[in-house]
Amino acid sequence: MLCQNCKKQTATIHLTEISNGHRIETHLCQDCAQNQGLTIQTQIPLNELLSTLLSAPQEPAGPAQPPQEQKACPRCGMTLQRFSKEMLLGCPDDYEVFEKNLLPLILRTQNGHSEHCGKVPAAAGPDRKKQMRLTNLRRKLNEAVRREQYETAARLRDEIRKLQ
């Protein structure tokens, strides 16, 4: 479907307005929608998010410390500046080296989550698996309580006790 306004680009924004019982459908391309001042609630592009996070004022650094963007990972040499351009990290260590900067980004892109609660490789050891299972059960317990599903909550609480 072509944009109703410019009739050149494909319409990707579809609006349905109902006023006085009349239904008006509008189909626009991204550019025309933006020109008409329509703000679209979609996922914020990762790079935009990153540049805002990187430009956010950092905690006051000592005069001897280099600016955050230039700090490099000792293992792979990745910098935040480079990451914000390429959108890819340089090595597994980066998650700890740049943790302070990455955490807000992770929270934003992962719907507020910052802790893994899925599969654990066997090599990580049985303790790790147990811990992950506990985290998982506690999260489900909180969810059940929030939804006032007390029977489920009681069952989860018993399961947690047994594991501990």
Binding site: L88, I106, N111, N136
Partner: protein, 351 residues
């Protein structure tokens, strides 16, 4: 496994049928994994990439699976062969078009493929026809568990499986279904689908994944959140909640079309079939739109002399690399439109 032979047969898994097949074309689950001892893609030298390729390739080929596995060196493959692999969803478009040492391990039945040195060191995926996400997960999880005893994955106690891009962090899982929603589109209710996707934090893409447009009422729906929820929760959310809801929307819309405007819908379906049966030049975009209507015709009982499998096969055969592999030479867009029309005419001819 010879690539020229592939171009003459449909992906074997696509021939199967399964639950909700009138709306759900296929299911796919992908896992992203990286080796603990190697840097991520941006910081790898070609030598390090070669090492990764060898380690993962050998580990995969040694797995005790029922199906024989084949390795294809994507760096060495001809551009047309790479495109053929992408058209069959065995590799991604970026994997086909990028450079450096990289490859793919493919199962004979093509239901499993593992890209090596894509955005992550390893991206494995399992496909199935219709809505069979649980089956996909069971299979890919088994392969992943077998593999983790042979290679050491980058895993963090807090963040889970570490990926080159933080958007895949945690489980590294991408669950997707390919949906056919012509009635929602025709009745102006496709918003319902987009809203459901948005409310559930899901991404909507076109037929060929990231960056592709939705042509012919085909939409790919996939999860975006990979951290803080378990793999099974993501899979179950799709199979028990999201997919049934959207399938229901589409079914209601189809019923409504058939009850309220049966003639208009019949006209659309039969007109599309007639064009496909007689056209001499068909672009791939036009073909997808017309085939979408024919598919709707088969599912609503308006077309009875064409099996669904034939339509599913055509979706593959009419793509550029498949056409050129069949022709045995490179074709101009006009020549492709002509061969495409010919293949469709032959497949849908009235005997």
């Amino acid at each position: 496994m010879k690539l020229t032979d592939l171009s003459k047969q449909p992906s074997p898994w696509l021939r199967e049928s399964g639950p909700l097949s009138e709306v759900v074309i296929s299911s796919r689950i992908r896992l992203a994994r990286n080796l603990a001892d190697y840097e991520f893609k941006p910081c790898l030298t070609p030598e390090r990439k070669k090492e990764i390729l060898e380690i993962i390739k050998n580990a995969l080929l040694a797995l005790p699976l029922e199906q024989p596995l084949f390795f294809i060196d994507v760096e060495e493959a001809a551009p047309l062969e790479r495109d053929l692999l992408a058209e069959r969803y065995l590799i991604s478009l970026p994997h086909a078009r990028s450079d450096g040492p990289r490859g793919v391990v493919v199962a004979q039945s093509e239901h499993f493929s593992a890209m090596i040195n894509e955005e992550d060191h390893l991206r494995m995926q399992v496909f199935a026809a219709a809505q069979q996400l649980e089956k996909c997960f069971e299979q890919i999880n088994r392969i992943d568990t077998l593999l983790e005893s042979k290679v050491q994955y980058a895993f963090h106690p807090r963040y889970g499986y570490l990926t080159a891009c933080p958007t895949n962090l945690g489980t590294g899982i991408r669950v997707s279904v390919m949906l056919h929603l012509p009635a929602l589109k025709m009745t102006g209710q496709i918003e319902k689908f987009f809203n459901t996707a948005r409310d559930c934090n899901l991404a909507v893409r076109g037929l060929f994944g990231e960056g592709s447009e939705a042509v012919g009422d085909f939409y790919q729906l996939s999860n975006q959140v990979t951290l803080g929820v378990s793999e099974m929760e993501i899979v179950e959310n799709f199979s028990a909640t999201i997919v049934p809801k959207i399938v229901d929307y589409e079914r209601v819309a189809r019923r409504k079309l058939l009850e309220e405007t049966p003639e208009a819908i019949d006209d659309k379906i039969q007109r599309s079939l007639a064009i496909l049966r007689s056209a001499r030049l068909v672009s791939s975009q036009e073909a997808l739109i017309l085939l979408s209507h024919v598919r709707l015709g088969i599912h609503t009982g308006r077309i009875t002399d064409i099996p669904l499998s034939k339509i599913n096969e055509l979706f593959l055969y009419i793509q550029p690399a498949h056409l050129q592999m069949q022709a045995g030479r490179s074709l101009t867009p006009d020549q492709r439109d002509s061969l495409r029309a010919q293949i469709i005419r032959t497949a849908l001819s009235v005997n």
